[in-house]
Amino acid sequence: MSLRLATPTLRSTARLLARQQPMGLVKIHSSVASKSAAASSTPDRMHGSYHWNAERVASIGLVPLFAGQFAFGASPVLDTFFGILLPIHIHMGFGACITDYLNTRKAPVIGKIATAALYAATAGTLVGCYQFNTNDIGLTELVVRAWTA
């Protein structure tokens, strides 16, 4: 087995260290070359990184919110932040599930439907939280009262 691949011999690990190539880039499509494919869509390589940052912000932000809720009880400020941060956190969680189980690469139709449904549901939830916090007793107070009823 002394065949050496005809592809460039600069090992992918070295290219990784030189930050020239993202990890695990495997193109599982036809080998038929098409110039248009490479030129038409050049997404920002940092896009996923920004999403990751947003995920952590939404997760970390929930910790003081819940801690404050347990320590100080209900307050309109807490409820407002809850009504924004919690739907965002859940939205990204469900988005990860869709990416894992209903990937558009494998299930193009269902994946798109699920994504659209998720966006609609999140929008509805954001509106619902706002309405509830404004016109009703607020998220925290509801939980406190229902839990100790």
Binding site: A6, T7, A38, F94
Partner: protein, 199 residues
């Protein structure tokens, strides 16, 4: 996958290598010459990309059709057992439970918020006072059971979420620490659930 001659030849063809021959066992060491051998490398594919054929080169179609062919093939391919045979470990069990609890609580939260919005339109009374009085009127056993069923996933997901954030800060990432924090999360879940159910 072995780098068979046919695959190499396919790769070489598609990268427009003019002088490649199956008998040449080494590529030139000079990078400039190496790059020059591959015409249109950037337009074809970045370096290091691996290509897979769904059909034989002689029967190849457009890229979109090839992708579709590949997708259809994968739909009917058998899947090796994975979840069924992997040794139960706290690592992936807790990871799975983290996702399941997250989805469950998230779905419940979404359903509640959307029901609150849609209630008047559908005609169902989704008033706060109505909910609280309905909950208060339930038997104590049902209330404690409900608080346990709702509280346990919430506490677990919160504690495990903090565990994840600790990992993101690159702390406690050794396998021993993973197990320690895992057991700590499970213990904390027990304590937290008991506390919430007692309220």
């Amino acid at each position: 996958m072995l780098a068979t001659r046919s695959m190499l030849k396919t790769v070489a063809q598609k990268l427009d290598i003019v002088h490649w021959s199956p008998s040449s066992h080494t590529a030139p060491s000079d990078p400039a010459v190496r790059t020059a051998m591959f015409k249109n490398t950037s337009a074809v594919a970045p370096m290091g990309l691996r290509h897979f054929n769904a059909s034989r080169p002689s029967m190849e179609q457009s890229p979109a059709a090839e992708s579709e062919l590949l997708r259809q093939q994968r739909k009917v391919r058998p899947v090796s057992p994975h979840l069924e045979i992997y040794q139960p470990q706290i690592t992936w069990y807790l990871s799975g439970i983290h996702r399941i609890t997250g989805c469950a609580i998230g779905a419940g939260f979404y359903a509640g918020a959307l029901a609150y919005l849609a209630g008047p339109a559908v005609g169902i009374q989704f008033d706060t006072a109505a909910i609280i009085s309905a909950v208060g009127a339930a038997p104590i056993a049902a209330k404690v059971a409900a608080k346990t069923i709702i509280g346990a996933p919430f506490v677990f997901h919160s504690l495990n979420g903090i565990r994840h954030l600790v990992w993101d800060a690159t702390k406690f990432i050794d396998i021993k620490d993973v197990y320690k924090t895992g057991y700590a999360v499970l213990g904390g879940t027990l304590v937290g659930t008991l506390y919430l159910a007692s309220l």
